[in-house]
Amino acid sequence: VERRTANIGAVVMGRNMFGGQPGPWGDDPWRGFWGEDPPFRVPVFVLTHHAREPLEMKGGTTFNFVTDGIEAALERAKKAAGEGDVCLAGGAKVVQQYLAAGLLDELDLSVVPVLLGGGERLFENLGAEPPELTLVDVVDGPGVTHLRYRAAN
């Protein structure tokens, strides 16, 4: 897992993942779940319908708010990452949109041994032709199974 995160040069996430109430940002806007020194330490691109100035945090994290769609966000994140990878941090709806659009290259999953019985599914709304996958790596963690797949788009 550490090996996977070492090369991340930018992060894309959905509005719910960033947090704050849905809708306009308001006068005293939410600054994320992670305090003043978030763990990302790279540019983060937050998908939202509500425009906002970039928010520079301590430690190298800058939250950029993207209002023109998933492709534009990925474009900007790739540019910011340079040689590095772009990490799609979720949530599920954002992953589904990128998967359905054929814009996701790799899937890193951690399978936890519990059946929840309900809730939000990662794999839904994948469109008529979900991408083909190739299993790349299986790592047997303590109780958790880490799986890595490559998606052929």
């Binding site: 998967l99 399978v111 041994p113 519990v114 994948l126 991408p131 996958l133 190739t134 299993l135 047997d140």
Partner: protein, 178 residues
């Protein structure tokens, strides 16, 4: 003696795709060592009516199970009896306890295989499932029959007891925590 839910599943959790298709499940290589071990452990099988109809129609009935490598009795849970010449198939019209009990008796020292998403869910809800064996296939089917149903009342804790890589499948063995 254990009851074991044994399936090949897609990464998005389906045991059958649209139109009950299972052809996809054979595209990822030969049966794995966990698969063969599980097959050898299973003495009899509990399946649902849907499995029965499809198995008769498309998969050579009992002969289609595990590619013809397996021998034993199949207990089909159904409220409607059917004309059946194959003595290896028994119909059980009672509850899930009755079906699993009959299969256990028939299996002797061996274990009971649970086939089907609905049956797996019913066994979980009734506290009758001991183990879950899945061969996870690197494919997203998008729709079909889910192994663990659509919604369930309770959360079920599992213990992952082994993981293995075999060709393109990932073997996962779980024990149900009671």
């Amino acid at each position: 003696m254990s009851s074991i839910s044994h399936h090949t599943i897609s990464l998005d959790g389906f045991i059958a795709g649209p139109n009950d298709s299972i052809d996809w499940a054979f595209a990822f290589g030969e049966p794995t060592s966990l698969g063969e071990e599980t097959m050898r452990r299973i003495g009899s099988i509990v399946a649902g009516r849907r499995w029965y109809e499809l198995a008769k129609e498309r998969w050579d009935g009992v002969d289609g199970i595990y590619g013809g490598e397996w021998n034993g009795q199949v207990f089909v849970r159904t409220h409607r009896s059917a004309e059946e010449d194959d003595s290896r198939i028994s119909f059980v019209s009672g509850g899930i306890e009755e079906a699993v009990g009959a299969a256990q008796e028939s299996a002797g020292d061996k274990d009971v295989g649970i086939f089907g998403g609905s049956l797996t869910r019913q066994c979980l809800d009734a506290g009758l499932l001991d183990e879950i064996v899945v061969h996870l296939a690197p494919v997203l089917l998008g729709s079909g029959v889910r192994l663990f149903g659509d919604e369930a009342a309770v959360q079920v804790e599992l213990e992952r007891t082994s993981v293995g890589e075999a060709d393109r499948l990932t073997d996962l063995h779980f024990r149900v925590r009671s």
